[in-house]
């Protein structure tokens, strides 16, 4: 069922959606998006955070193999790296469509606004892309020493870039729900969870289609199962973060924050929140993983898919929650929830970017050898047992 051709067809269909959506956005600009003047950021920003988050997650998780020499993870190294590059590139495509005038990005060099988190975002993600490509180059060339060194920088750059991306929101004095250190940290946690989800799906499929099955099994434990255990752990961590964010926001009844939290819990975002952010991203995967036979590859695969979908929504909801409470300026004025949504063009672009990621991956798979080279050392003793969830 899973073969290259299916993969290409799926990617192709998604990309067609993406192209149509992108074209509509290029022609009609903001009119084709679900945002408005009072809710300026929406699905495209969330989508961008999602793709670069996936990239960060993949890099961080795979670095467990490269950088920290966790051997059983080495097997996923190159594929995760390709995945990381593919999703990062797609993140760039999404943000380029979100930007009204992407070509003016050149002024990031000519007149840098160094107090701006988006300036740093540009700088860090630019650097990151170069590093990732370099790492990939050396990995393919078999220069593992250099690759590992670069890998260290990749992880550093990734954490810096992604938490800085969180700071894009966290810096906002205007939007009290975003304001503060929560989002920078939470985005890293979410990125790892997302990375694990993507890896689970990737390796389950590779397992079904590739001959290198054996290498995916380590000490009788399938690599996907190991990912599953990490996933369970990060679901718990995510839950912990989300719980306290919402608890403090509602308990303190801080103006703006309270209404935003209520928008998620019981307001216009509540369907998304409970169904996607809570059930799909956390509760169902967790149950799937923690019940009997939970870490069987199919289960983990399923949990991975759900958590990926949930991860997209949780970002959309986080973005909207910060903006959806209308500002009030007159004493006694009650704030209203604003209307914002994800337009079909935006869905198209997001699906297209998923398709694009798959396509890049498949192309890489075709033109490069992504399997682990077995001449590499087998230092079992060095492998740390991953934390059990």
């Amino acid at each position: 069922m899973f073969n290259r051709k299916t993969g290409l067809i799926i990617a192709g269909i998604l990309i067609v959606f993406g192209l149509v959506g992108a074209l509509n956005i290029l022609i009609h600009g903001e009119h084709a998006m679900g945002t408005n003047n009072k809710v300026p950021w929406g699905a495209m920003i969330a989508g961008y955070v999602f793709f670069v988050g996936a990239s960060a997650g993949l890099s961080i998780v795979s670095s467990l193999g490269h950088v920290f020499k966790i051997e059983r993870f080495e097997v996923i190294g190159k594929r995760a790296l390709v995945g990381g590059i593919a999703t990062l590139l797609m993140g760039f495509v999404v943000i380029a469509l979100e930007l009204g005038k992407p070509f003016n990005m050149i002024y990031i060099l000519f007149s840098p606004g160094i107090s701006s988190a988006i300036f740093w975002m540009g700088a860090l993600y630019g650097t990151l892309l170069v590093l990732l490509l370099a790492e990939f180059y050396f990995v393919i060339k078999g220069k593992h020493a250099i690759a590992s060194t670069i890998g260290i920088f990749v992880v550093i750059a990734d954490v810096a870039a992604h938490s800085n991306l969180g700071a894009v929101f966290g810096n906002s004095v205007a939007r009290s729900f975003w304001n503060g250190p929560f989002i920078p940290i939470y985005l890293i946690v979410l990125a790892i969870l997302l990375g694990l989800g993507v890896l689970a799906v990737m390796f389950y499929i590779i397992d079904k289609t590739n001959a290198t099955k054996d290498s995916l099994v380590y000490r009788n434990e399938h690599i996907v199962s190991i990912i599953g255990k990490l996933m369970a752990l990060f679901i718990v961590i995510s839950f912990f973060f989300m719980f306290w964010k919402l608890f403090t926001s509602t308990y303190g009844a801080a103006p703006g924050q309270y209404e935003a939290a209520m928008a998620l819990l019981a307001g216009p975002l509540s369907f998304n929140f409970w169904v996607f952010d809570v059930l799909l991203m956390m509760v169902i995967p967790f149950i799937l993983l923690m019940t009997k036979n939970g870490f069987q590859p199919q289960r983990v695969f399923l949990a991975g898919i759900l958590t990926i979908i949930g991860n997209l929504f949780v970002r959309i909801d986080l973005v909207f929650a910060g903006e959806i409470v209308e500002f009030t300026f007159l004493p006694g004025q009650e704030s209203q929830y604003l209307h914002a949504f994800v337009s079909w063009s935006e869905w198209g672009v997001l699906l297209g970017a998923i398709g694009g990621s798959i396509l890049i991956y498949l192309l890489a798979e075709k033109y490069f050898n992504l399997d682990e080279e077995h001449e590499h050392h087998h230092g079992e003793s060095k492998a740390n047992k991953p934390v059990e969830a």
């Binding site: 290029l26 022609i27 009609h28 600009g29 009204g100 005038k101």
Partner: protein, 735 residues
């Protein structure tokens, strides 16, 4: 895709960049630079956003109007302009303008025709009609009377008495009362007043910008402002107090106020003795109209009425009750008496011709163009019956009864109708009845856009130059506010005509020639202007350059006296509390209580009186096709009908709900704004919406109009529409 209509004034390069359909790559700066580089020509003229006719300075770039500013001298604007003025200036570029003459073909579709064809056909048809049915069957309907001197030449030739203004749907009751009782109108001296009562008059809705400026200045100096209105109107926002009154009962309030002034001896006895005629008659009929009596009717406590009357008297003569305008004066069966009472209350406190009270307008006398006299058949009675014995004898013939004309067509009495700068199909009651206009043998619409009258009734549509494209006879500036210095203002072209339109004289001349009268209009507007200003010692060039010219102050306080006697243009020379003309058929000339024609039944939860009013950014239906102004309506929920919260709760209606509203003649859906800012007895709609001409694309199908719900009625004294004498039933939900 959207259009970039604002930007068409740019030179080709920038315009080309803007036309590109992918906004992503269009440089905003290109267009901005091009716009900034062009030289700006500043040309003074005056506005047509409403009938205040504020002075404007038009800014023109690359032959395109860029924007307007208030004329710094013109006394209506003094540098300020309201939203309508700005919006209607831009309306020159509306795509819904009439761009050339049209003729309705046999299939009902309009086809483009030439001016020559239009003149020939209209002239011939008109000639036939006059021959067959006499000039009495021909009607000219115009918003005001600005073109009357020109129209008169043609009408004298054919023998038609039927020049009709739209004022029967506006303020007829007021001008009629003032004409009968005072012989002319005075205006409030807002700035010097200490106490002003705005009753049924929303000065911040029907705006004279400089008038509002004077009012806010007065307020800063401590003038007390009282607003009496069923709706918390815009002027209420800056008032010291808002008193919601039961709609239709202002007359009772005013009678009770007079009662307090007289019975408590607070009135200016010297003034009344010297300058008032008919005081005793008034008192005889109104002794019993006490505040307690009025409390029942108006819902304003007797205590409050006394308080107001006393404060009014205390501050007099620097106090007045606003003479008013459209508000109250075409609305109720008792509107004429209500208007009479404004005169009586002001006279009782002796504020006539006093600073801070009521003052006349400073004015100059213009010259006239000497023209060959026109001879024609003798004119008969007005077809609308205004001023005609046995019909509407007391109605001012100079204004006419506009909303009756369509019925006169149906009766076969009117055969040819010219509708100029006017839209009776939307501004007169009962649109279905108004549509009968089209059944005349000849209907010519001389309007600038595809308004309802053009679209649904016209046989021919002739585009007149827009106000920014034409000269007009100079205006002496006056009305609504007092001023020391007489002014005259000129309307002159600030842009070249955008379409194949013409000046009114050329249109009239064309029609006259089509009838075979080749020398009816041997002059141009410029000739007319020059003759008008000749006695003033200014030149045409000076006037063109200045736009508005102010003359030395002429205003004097004190009652007009001639040879020691009061010299108003009334029978006695005094203020006539009893209007002579109204004493017809045994009626009395003094106002006394007349109940409104209809009343919502207070025991029925679904019955309301439907009232209407002017929104500050619209001039009734005149501006409803303007993109900018309609965007404003959109922004501020301007199309909704106001309903009192408690009443809405009873009907289960929530803010933003759509309801079904039904009167004896119509049933429509309307969106509701639930608010505490309105009297529970009534619902209020802005007078703007309900466009039903598909070719006025912005206005089309937006909101409802009060006229949709009211049958054609005529107030017997002044001929007005009684546009608020209608009870509607409202229920939640769509139709």
């Amino acid at each position: 895709m959207r259009q970039f209509n604002r930007r068409t004034f740019l030179k080709a390069s920038a315009a080309a960049a803007v036309v590109s359909s992918v906004p992503l790559y269009v440089s905003f700066n290109n267009y901005k630079k091009a716009a900034e580089d062009a030289t700006v020509h500043k040309i003074p003229s005056f506005c047509q956003g409403c009938t205040s006719y504020c002075g404007i300075i038009a800014h023109v770039k690359n032959d395109r109007l860029w924007k307007i500013e208030g004329h710094p001298i013109h006394l209506k604007s003094r540098g300020h302009l309201c939203a309508r003025g700005h919006g209607m200036a831009d309306y020159a570029y509306s795509k819904d303008r009439i761009q050339h003459p049209w003729k309705r073909g046999d299939n009902g579709e309009f086809e483009k025709i030439s001016w020559d064809q239009a003149f020939k056909e209209i002239g011939e048809k008109l000639k036939d009609i006059v021959k067959k049915y006499s000039g009495n069957s021909v009607v000219w309907m115009e918003h005001g009377s600005h073109r009357k001197p020109y129209v008169d030449r043609l009408f004298d030739k054919i023998g038609s008495p039927n020049f009709v203004t739209q004022y029967s749907t506006c303020f007829n009751s007021k001008t009629n009362a003032w004409q009968q009782m005072v012989g002319g109108t005075l205006s409030g001296d807002h700035q010097k007043s200490k106490y002003i009562i705005f009753e049924g008059r929303n000065f911040a809705g029907g705006i004279v910008p400089n008038g509002m400026n004077l009012i806010t200045k007065a307020k800063e100096q401590g003038t007390k402002i009282l607003v009496i209105d069923p709706r918390y109107s815009e002027i209420a926002k800056i008032a010291d107090e808002w008193l919601p009154i039961r709609p239709g009962t202002d007359l009772a309030f005013r009678l009770a106020m007079a009662n307090v002034l007289i019975s408590e001896g607070l009135y200016d006895k010297v003034f009344v003795k010297k300058y008032v005629d008919g005081f005793d008659e008034f008192w005889k009929y109104n002794k019993h109209n006490t505040p307690e009596w009025a409390e029942e009717i108006t819902g304003i406590s007797a205590q409050k009425i006394r308080e107001i009357a006393r404060e009014f008297a205390k501050n007099a003569p620097q106090a007045f009750i606003e003479p008013g305008w459209h508000g109250l004066h075409a609305h109720y069966l008792n509107s004429t008496q209500t208007a009479q009472m404004a005169i009586i209350l002001n006279a009782l406190v002796g504020n006539f011709y006093q600073r801070g009270g009521l003052m006349p307008s400073a004015t100059v006398t213009l010259g006239h163009l000497e023209l060959p006299e026109v001879f024609g058949p003798e004119k008969g009675d007005r077809v609308d019956g205004a001023g005609v014995d046995g019909e509407f004898k007391t109605v001012e013939p100079a204004r006419g009864i506009s909303h009756l004309i369509a019925n006169k067509v149906a009766e076969g009495k009117v055969k040819a109708v010219f509708v100029c700068n006017n839209n009776p199909l939307r501004t007169s009651p009962s649109p279905e009845e108004q549509k009968q206009l089209k059944d005349a043998d000849l209907v010519v619409s001389i309007n600038i856009d595809w308004n309802e009258t053009s679209y649904h009734a016209a046989h021919y549509i002739l585009p007149e130059h827009y106000y920014l494209e034409r000269y007009e006879h100079p205006y002496t500036v006056s009305g609504h506010i007092t001023h020391e210095h007489p002014q005259i203002a000129l309307r002159q072209p600030v842009i070249k005509p955008l379409h194949d339109s013409k000046n009114i004289i050329d249109i009239l001349d064309g029609i006259a020639k089509g009838m075979g009268y080749n020398d009816l209009y041997p002059f141009t507007v410029e000739d007319d202007i020059k003759a008008a200003i000749a006695p003033l010692g200014i030149t045409f060039e000076q006037l063109k350059k200045a736009g508005t010219i102010e003359f030395p102050a002429t205003l004097k306080t004190g009652f007009p006296i001639n040879k020691g006697k009061p010299a108003l243009k009334t029978k006695s020379g005094k203020i006539q509390f009893s209007a002579e003309l109204f004493k017809l058929d045994g009626k009395i000339g003094v106002p006394t209580w007349i109940a409104p024609k209809v009343m919502p039944d207070s025991s029925k939860a679904d019955e309301f009186r439907l009232i209407h009013g002017k929104q500050p950014w619209h001039s009734h239906a005149m501006t409803n096709n303007n993109n900018y102004l309609m965007a404003m309506s959109e922004r501020y929920d301007g199309m909704s009908m106001w309903m009192n919260t408690a009443r809405a709760n009873k009907l289960g209606i929530k803010n933003g709900d759509t309801v079904t509203m039904e009167s004896s003649i119509a049933k429509k859906e309307v969106k509701v704004k639930v608010t505490e800012l309105i009297h529970p007895d009534c619902v209020w709609v802005p007078s703007t919406y309900g466009g039903y001409s598909p070719k006025n694309t912005t206005a089309y199908n937006v909101g409802v109009n009060f006229n949709d719900f009211i049958p054609v009625m005529v107030e017997p004294w002044s001929g007005s529409t009684m546009s608020q004498e209608v009870v509607v039933k409202i229920r939640k939900g769509a139709m």
